[in-house]
Amino acid sequence: MMHTLAMKGHAPETGATIAVTLKLFAMLERWLPEGARRNEIRLAVPAGTTPAAIIAALDLPAALCAIVLIDGAFVEPERRGTRALVEGEVLSIWPPIAGG
């Protein structure tokens, strides 16, 4: 199921759309759009959309977005507003967590 995310002005209006997968875990689950299953959902977003744009569009508290991965690779906080997602990538976000 594909969900078209309302970007609320947080992404460029390029006209082109890409599909990405969003995964939210632990206490962030509750911010997943309707239709999400098993912590993930496919999203249609404007080309050029960044992790920060998706975080803002979903009203995710920034302080709870501690671990942000694109295809498993960590995206540093200073790059979350500039690293544009590309077609097919997986954006995964966790709150502050630990274990062992």
Binding site: K23, F25, A26, M27, E29, R38, N39, A63, L64, A66, I67, L69, D71, G72, A73, F74, E76, V90, S92, W94, P95, P96, I97, A98, G99, G100
Partner: protein
């Protein structure tokens, strides 16, 4: 002073019990628990001792903060020469037993020799008695605890014991207290059973007296508890999701060892994660997770309490497993699940129940199952030998092997050898994912490079709890480092190893370190104990403990050649994820680590290093 200044010495051969003053000179240099217990051990036991001989000793040691109002102050450590590894073993447990021993007035108990018949030790404050254990020998940990509480008519008694796996010689048997808290690693339970010692039952009513500055201690512990409560990890994440919250993040970043480390990502990870434990099952509408649980004095409460689906094939005819009990933590869920390609959460929970009930380490067990499944798929082991078809992904093989290992029956005897000896026996030692004979925990060192150095240099064999660089490399605690880089990891590992030795030796839980640094621990020690517990001295004490352990291992015959990783991790690149194409760069990190430690390039502490540390 926080120390009770008294230890018990139990000669199991002679059946005698003696009281001794705590060596305070050593306490000021080695703090307590892991550090101080190990100091006693290395002073009293030759490094060449056979772990299962009467000449080996077994020490149960608390720390100065154990039993106090410091958060998580309930820990104790079991120190011996490990049955699985032949290296120094110090296995740490929470629950309530450690605090009870301290409240009975004892800092530690040293067991020597071997009893001619099965016995258990009962401690009621100053009254200490060895009892015949014939009626509980051959029974489980769960039965032993229930039996002793009934027999002594004391429901508040705290019991630590070994199960049938230890009695049957499983080399990774654990010591289990409070039903599901365990000193789990390195086969400390095997050593206990080899001495014909079944259990230690304790009731303490004295509390911990003699805090050096009670007012300052109350202020320090209160401030430190606020740090834990205000921290998102220790105040919210761990209580809600437990350590199991790691399953998905470690999988996403391509560092979840899967199918005996053949892969680094598991397609079934989400099905065995914290998120899955909290979901209602389709079968009965109930969640696997019932609640969280805290150990003594803990203000985090990360423990998991689970209840199985009564209709699951494993328990449908075994109502004794229908109640709520200790659930899956991350390491167990990984070892029983991803390590074998098994994604049946209920089967994992059942195997975990058995590990608690009969006292065996689910990490070493699960990793040994992974090696067996690989040998089965290669055709080296057959259904006839194992007793069941055992391809990767078979939940039925997993639970079958757990049942056999618990009792030491059939192929369970082979399972009890651990992966190193088992794979050697069947001609494929390269398939044992272990260091110094102990199996890896749940982080693939191709995707988290620092953990390769952590495993290779751990004094008790492969272990994540000696320098948990995952905190930095994945979680950004205290600072984020690149998990794929080898640069800087030597210093990072050394810093984590030395600091961890302090947390362990103080008698508190390592999980406080997700919020606390030694800056938070030092005031609690300084207010409770005589001596110098400044940050500068704590750094020296931590390093001293690490080097003391290393020197014992060197004397036991371990060399730099044992600071290694299995061939698979340094020659077979990760197939998927961010680490795709990478192997572990141990060869780059190890020389830097030796230099940072002040060791020769053969891994031996130099005379200057020993002199600086007072060793």
């Amino acid at each position: 002073m926080s120390w009770q200044r008294k230890i018990l010495r139990v000669d199991l051969t002679a059946g005698t019990i003696a009281e001794e003053p705590l060596n305070m000179e050593w306490a000021l240099d080695y703090l307590g628990s892991r550090g101080l217990g190990t100091k006693y051990f290395v002073e009293e036991v030759g490094a060449g001792v056979d772990p299962l001989s009467p000449a080996n000793k077994l020490i149960f040691a608390t720390g100065p903060l154990t039993g106090t109002m410091a958060s998580t102050g309930g820990r104790y450590t079991v120190i011996t020469k490990g049955a699985l590894t032949g290296a120094i073993a110090c296995s740490n447990s929470g629950g309530y037993w450690g605090a009870e021993l301290k409240a009975a007035g004892w800092d530690m108990v040293i067991f020597e020799g071997k009893s001619p018949k099965p016995v258990y030790l009962q401690i009621s404050d100053d009254e200490v008695t060895l009892h015949d254990a014939a009626e509980i020998w051959g029974t489980t940990v769960w039965h032993t605890e229930e039996h002793l509480k009934k027999k002594h008519q004391d429901p508040l008694m705290r019991v630590t014991s070994v199960g049938r796996s230890a009695e049957q010689g499983c080399l990774y048997a654990a010591v289990v207290n409070d039903l599901h808290r365990a000193a789990g690693r390195s086969g400390v339970g095997t050593v206990m059973a080899s001495k014909n010692l079944k259990a230690i039952a304790v009731r303490g009513t004295k509390g911990v007296a003699g805090i050096k500055d009670p007012k300052a201690f109350m202020a320090a512990t209160k401030a430190a508890k606020k740090v834990l409560a205000d921290n998102a990890v220790t105040g919210q994440g761990l209580p809600a999701y437990g350590t199991q919250v790691l399953m998905n993040v470690i999988n996403e970043m391509g560092a979840l060892p899967t199918r005996n480390h053949k892969d680094v990502q598991f397609e079934g990870a989400r099905d065995i994660s914290a998120e899955a434990m909290a979901e209602k099952r389709e079968t009965d509408g109930k969640a696997n997770l019932v609640t969280n649980q805290a150990c003594f004095g803990c203000t985090i409460a990360c423990g998991r309490i689970s209840q199985m689906d009564k209709g699951h094939y494993t328990v449908q005819n075994q109502p004794q497993y229908w109640g709520a009990s200790g659930g899956l933590e991350y390491e167990a869920a990984w070892a029983l699940g991803a390590a074998n390609g098994v994604d049946d959460l209920e089967a994992l929970t059942y195997a975990n129940f058995l590990a608690n009930e009969d006292g065996f380490d689910p990490i070493s067990f699960g990793a040994t199952v992974g090696a067996v499944m690989e040998l089965y798929e290669m055709g080296v082991l057959t259904k006839e030998q194992i007793g069941i078809e055992a391809p990767f992904g078979s939940a039925k093989a997993l639970t079958f092997l757990a049942e056999l290992t618990a009792k030491g029956e059939g192929f369970g005897k082979e399972m009890g050898l651990g992966s190193k000896r088992l794979t050697e026996k069947y001609g494929h030692p390269e398939l044992s994912m272990s260091v110094k004979g102990q199996e890896f925990p749940a982080y693939d060192s191709r995707g988290i490079q620092g953990m390769g150095l952590t495993y290779a240099t751990s004094n008790r064999g492969a272990c994540h709890l000696r320098s948990y660089t995952v905190a930095s490399e994945v979680l950004g605690i205290p600072i984020k480092t690149d998990p794929l880089a080898t640069e800087g990891k030597a210093g990072l590992v050394k810093a984590f190893q030395d600091a961890t030795a302090i947390f362990d030796s103080a008698g508190i839980c390592l999980f406080t370190s997700f919020a606390w640094s030694l800056v938070d621990v030092a005031p609690q020690l300084q207010a409770s104990c005589e001596g110098d517990w400044s940050l500068d001295n704590l750094a020296v004490v931590g390093e001293r403990i690490w080097n003391m352990e290393r020197m014992f291992n060197n004397a036991a015959g371990f060399t730099s050649k044992d600071d290694c990783l299995p061939k698979r991790l340094v020659t077979e690149p990760a197939k998927t994820g961010p680490a795709k194409g990478l192997v572990n760069g141990l060869d780059k990190m190890l020389p830097e680590y030796y230099a940072a430690r002040g060791w020769t390039q053969d891994g031996i502490p130099t005379p200057e290093t020993k002199g600086r540390l007072g060793l």
